[in-house]
Subunit: 164 residues, 2 copies
């Protein structure tokens, strides 16, 4: 059983801040193996012009490159926001062993909110998880982001809408 570490969630929050700075939905992720960070990522959907570039996917790509392996065994992922189904399936396929996430995503969070995806019997790898870690910091940042977007776009976005 992997133990949650505040240090790594703080690094994931630092990644989310990078997304915030370039006007992307502020979500960040880091991947840890044997107490070393081997992958970092933040949301770059607009920058990369592709919905694939969620924080988790960017972190997985970096870690895979560093390890020289598309399987990330005995690794943990820290994400500031509950992953969607795309990222959850990527987390399963890479064989990550633990997912720690921050804020829950009521509209598309696949782990606890709209689904319990990782509990599915058809998956060929079990990823353990726990959520709500240091969630206030993530929620604050997301709220601030959407508030500034509402102001600049003059459109109404529900405060519960923190999806991408």
């Amino acid at each position: 059983m992997s133990k949650f570490s505040e240090k790594y969630m703080q690094l994931a929050i630092d990644e989310a801040k990078k997304a915030f700075k370039i006007d992307e939905v502020p979500v960040g992720a880091v991947i840890v193996k044997e107490d070393k960070v081997i992958g970092r990522g933040y949301n770059t959907v607009i920058k990369n012009n592709s919905i694939i570039h969620h924080a988790e996917i960017n972190a997985i790509n970096e870690a895979s490159e560093i390890l020289g392996n598309y399987r990330l065994v005995n690794c943990q992922i820290y994400v500031t926001l509950e992953p969607c189904h795309m990222c959850a399936k990527a987390i399963v396929d890479t064989r990550l062993d633990y997912l720690f996430f921050g804020a829950r995503e009521p509209k598309s969070g696949s782990i606890e909110s709209v689904d319990k995806f990782l509990e599915n019997k058809f998956l060929n790898h079990k990823v353990n998880y726990s959520g709500g870690h240091m969630e206030l910091q993530s929620i604050e940042m997301l709220k601030k982001f959407f508030k500034s977007r509402r102001r600049s776009n003059n459109v109404h976005l529900s405060s519960s809408h923190i999806g991408q």
Copy 2:
């Protein structure tokens, strides 16, 4: 309602053949907008050292780059194999309007086999779909691929295991 075109599924099969040639699980995809192919992709998980690089994701990335937009509205995707949850969520997020797929994937196919993911009420975009198109060609290629892998690896892979 988009109409299935054999021509485009044949192009997706041609993409799958490229994967076969470089020893990757043979899956291919193309994305079509107003009767023009704007994205092609084949499975390059081993080549790119990342489980993200399924055929659908590679095709989405190419189409997004070509259109200069992370939303692919009024576009259809043709895939030789039933998508997994990662690719299905990517297809929803890009706002593709129709998914045509070939062979069903009994172990991880998220559209009809292990789940009916695209029917979920929590999704904010509806993707229509139909499967089984020209499936024999896809199945044949997948069987040939796993047969040759069994021979070279001397391991047993179930013939129904056509997942990645």
